[in-house]
Symmetry: C2
Subunit: 280 residues, 2 copies
């Protein structure tokens, strides 16, 4: 779909970037709301929005497509409070990085045929409208997760990502999405934060860090409140994944203890081959 009126709730790095790019792509009316009045003003002044009403429900009433781009827990709440205000034909999506909870909520609210979850693999540890950019989604993978009986809505929303935001939409079932993201995103976040916690406690004050340690901990600078929500919403997948780190860590420690250069080299080599393959 290519909505003539698009509504965006949440004008941070994700919501703000959707607004910017939608305007550049020629969407006639883009409405946006943020709980932070400064973000509403900035987005309107910079041409990312046509209007920014005081109440989110005034946006819901006017749109053909509503995008919830608040943090995940707020999106769950917004879906519930805004649903009664939506026109009967409007579609809804969100942009959170955990999908089972919100797809389940949409189904429970009877919105299954009009909702699909979205998760754009874009953004950074920077946050707020000031971190938005007009080309954030160009070429980025966006997972689209249908609700039960919602394949039609999911196709429309996938088309919106591809046609308006120039992203690559990938359809995936919500629970499979959450299992995959636990591995590819949530565990990496936990590990970067674990290393950050370790260094905060053990690094000498003023110690120098090479680019390696800086890269390895970059994710740790992410927004704690947002990641608290993500980790809690997906803990059923994340906890077993974290426990499966114990085995390779034990292998490494035993190789060090026994001075087993062959085992150590093989252990490092598996990770090295995998990582080099990622850039190949």
């Amino acid at each position: 779909m290519r909505p003539s009126t698009l509504g965006i709730i949440g004008l941070g790095a994700i919501g703000g970037s959707i607004a910017r790019q939608a305007k550049l792509a020629g969407i006639p009316t883009v409405l946006g709301w943020s709980p932070a009045p400064g973000e509403r003003v900035a987005a309107a002044q910079q041409g990312a929005l046509d209007d920014s009403p005081h109440r989110a429900q005034d946006i819901a009433r006017a749109v053909e497509l509503l995008v919830l781009a608040a943090p995940p827990a707020a999106n769950l709440q917004l879906l519930e409070t805004l649903a009664p205000h939506l026109p009967g034909s409007a579609l809804v999506t969100d942009t959170g990085s955990v999908k089972r909870a919100i797809v389940g909520r949409a189904e429970a609210l009877g919105l299954g045929r009009r909702f699909a979850g979205s998760h754009p693999l874009a953004g950074s540890h920077r946050r707020g409208f000031e971190a938005s950019q007009a080309d954030l989604f160009r070429g980025a993978v966006v997972y689209v997760t249908p609700a039960a009986n919602g394949d039609g809505a999911a196709r429309e929303i996938a088309h919106f990502w591809e046609d308006v935001l120039e992203a690559e939409a990938v359809m995936v079932e919500a629970s499979r999405h959450d299992a995959q993201l636990a591995v590819t995103s949530h565990v990496p976040q936990v590990i970067a934060s674990l290393l950050g916690n370790f260094l905060a406690r053990h690094a000498p004050p003023g110690a120098s860090f090479g680019s390696g340690a800086r890269d390895a901990t970059r994710l740790a600078a992410s927004d704690s409140a947002l990641w608290t929500e993500i980790l809690l919403m997906n803990r059923d997948e994340i906890l077993p994944a974290l426990r499966s780190l114990e085995e390779p860590l034990g292998t490494l420690e035993r190789a060090l203890e026994t001075g087993d250069a062959g085992a150590l080299s093989a252990w490092l080599g598996r990770a090295s081959a995998w990582r080099r393959g990622l850039d190949a």
Copy 2:
């Protein structure tokens, strides 16, 4: 010191960069050796070397300063085999990232007054002469670790790094260096490789990774043979450091299990505050 004849054993990213920058800085004669003939030819053809004799000992005989830029275990061996060929006034340093072992070896060989260890915080996971660059050390921290009674040599070698290679030399005792680097560099390498091992095993084939997971695992692509040597040489510091990761990991897992958003947010926040401080 500003040697009129500089010798470099090992022409990889570190040794090759020293050669390039020393020539640009006007060192009259730079001699280099590598076990790989192709690296010797490339370095000479690209103007990084004045000559590249077939035997490393022919370099040792001619120099005022000898830099061992091979991997750490090879440097230990080279120090022993080349020492008898050095002129009586020549100084020696190395560029490895573990310092107690080679400082101890220099002292045992009676070279304490003519040797200091060096560890430039530069380079990347790329390797070989093709990864060398003429400005690699400009502004980089270089740790210089004196041997017993070797303060004079350490001052000369620190001056070489600063005057010729435009680095910032920081004098530190070898065992303190190794304890600090276990925390700031070796544990980050292990953690990045642990995450790489985990992802190699658990990520679905063809899964997409955001910049966060790519950054967090970049170090995992490092040279396995080199890191096997580093980790084994410094295992007395690294093993206890790795064990101290268990406590914060346990804190995180308990917060997830009990759904304790406050504890989770505090845990993530400590790492976030530390990492943001690193860039401030």
